[in-house]
């Protein structure tokens, strides 16, 4: 009997571990708190990983800064001209904002102007070529939780999918598992941005009759319970209208350059789809915020 068990121990161990993996994979449904084992592994490996990748990152940063300085004079002249144009444009926008605020007050809406954010540094990239995630150096100790959106000054980066007290894992919008509900600023056409493990994304589910052109700015719609409305996701880079089907196919160039992603901001606001009974609660509104 013991001989039989010894012979089968390898197969039994394999089957047990595969079953555990299957349970883990099937239980994987979106952002959630990290379990104890994952927190331990992340906490143990992250400092090591940071030490290993730090010299490389700093070296690359120094090199980039040096190469960047060669073209800085030319760039300066171009930017001075651009600043003049933008100042003029800015004035018009200020005027528009003032008008907009007045209209909002009149109609009784209270727009939330400032949302609490935590700055964080990217300390590690995804180890797998199949997925697109990064690890940042701020975690639950700073108030960060799963499901919180991550942005930069350029646009949307992704969503927090797991946290430890000192670090968080962020699933980028480039990841094939990522979905961002969006609209096109010019025409208000709705769609969904999907990652495909490259530096660009796919803009899906845009109806065929909608007017979409390369260069159109794409913003978050605020309807998918993760990102607030109006964050820049990117720009349409290519549009393809197939002769059949309900939707047209488009590609999107993200506003964020993920190859140079170093600092990000985590919006400390977790949005959740309301439970069915909450739809009838007028005081809560249609999209009540989750309690932190």
């Amino acid at each position: 009997m013991s001989d039989l068990l010894r012979r089968l121990s390898y197969s039994l161990t394999y089957l047990t571990l595969v079953s555990l993996c299957a349970v883990g994979m099937l239980a994987h449904r979106g952002p959630a708190e990290l379990g104890l084992a994952r927190r331990l592994v992340l906490s143990a490996t992250l400092p090591l990983q940071r030490v290993v990748t730090f010299p490389v990152r700093e070296g690359a940063r120094l090199w980039n800064d040096y190469v960047g300085l060669i073209h800085v004079r030319k760039e300066n002249e171009r930017l001075r001209g651009r600043v003049g144009d933008l100042e003029l444009e800015n004035l018009q926008y200020r005027e528009a904002i003032v008008s907009s605020e007045r209209f909002q007050r009149l109609s009784g809406f209270r727009a939330k102007r400032e949302v609490p954010m935590v700055p964080a540094n990217v300390v590690a990239e995804d180890l797998s070529p199949w997925f697109q995630a990064v690890i940042i150096d701020q975690g639950s100790a700073s108030g960060i939780g799963p499901g919180m959106p991550v942005i930069t000054d350029s646009g949307v980066v992704g969503v927090v999918v797991g946290t430890t007290p000192g670090a968080s894992k962020v699933l980028l919008i480039l990841d094939p598992q990522s979905r961002v509900d969006v609209y096109i600023q010019r025409t208000r056409a709705r769609g969904s941005v999907r990652g495909r493990s490259q530096q660009d994304c796919e803009l899906a589910y845009v109806l065929r009759e909608e007017d979409v052109r390369p260069g159109d700015l794409v913003l978050t719609s605020g309807l998918a319970a993760v990102y607030p409305k109006g964050l820049v996701v990117g720009e349409v880079s290519r549009v393809e209208r197939l002769p059949h089907g309900l939707f047209q196919h488009a590609e999107l160039q993200p506003a964020v350059d993920f190859r140079k992603l170093e600092e990000v901001f985590v919006i400390l606001e977790r949005r959740q789809l309301p439970a069915d009974e909450e739809f009838s609660d007028d005081a809560e509104g249609l999209w009540p915020e989750a309690k932190q």
């Binding site: 299957a22 883990g24 990239e125």
Partner: protein, 175 residues
């Protein structure tokens, strides 16, 4: 015990090297050191411990990447088990055959990954075009690094002969 600790240390060291490779090398030219290590562990006679270590290292990759929890643990554990299975039919300890096996398995691993993802995320888009461009070069890089890694593992096993190393496995298979 010392041999097992050395293997664990080597595995974690390779995980860090893997992270370094991610920061330094272009996406298409990154060797999958954890896959190579898991494959090499499949040649050990102390198989169950090696299998558990392969699963653990896969789990570490799961934690440090955006993959569904358990995906890499399953793939790396399976890689270890597959080597053990193939080692009964093929002689994988010769460097050329070993490198060839690593290339073939890395390609098969990508296929297995795609199939598993298809089962897990049916509505998801698998980036096949990206993967097909990246995997072959990555597999070749892995094969190149697999030969020195195998000799390191053989040395560790030779030192911890009592715990069951390559020599004992070879003699067991031949007998």
């Amino acid at each position: 015990m010392t041999g097992q600790l050395k293997l664990l240390g080597l595995g974690l060291g390779l995980l860090m090297l893997h992270a370094l490779g991610t920061a330094v090398l272009p996406a298409g030219a990154r060797p999958d050191l954890i896959l190579v290590f898991a494959l090499a562990l499949g040649l050990r006679a102390a198989g169950t411990k090696a299998l558990v270590l392969s699963f653990f290292l896969g789990f570490c990759v799961d934690v440090l990447s955006g993959s569904p929890l358990g995906l890499y643990a399953f793939l790396r554990g399976t890689a270890c088990a597959a080597t053990r299975l193939f080692d009964r039919a093929l002689y994988l300890r010769a460097p050329i055959l070993w490198a060839l096996f690593v290339v073939c398995y890395a390609l098969a691993d990508a296929l297995l990954m795609g199939l598993t993802l298809r089962l897990l995320v049916p509505e998801g888009t698998i980036p096949w075009s990206t993967i097909l461009l990246r995997i072959p070069v990555s597999a070749l890089m892995s094969a190149v690094l697999s030969v020195p890694l195998l000799s390191v593992l053989q040395r560790i096993d030779a030192e911890a002969q009592g715990e069951g190393g390559w020599t004992s496995l070879t003699s067991r298979v031949r007998s």
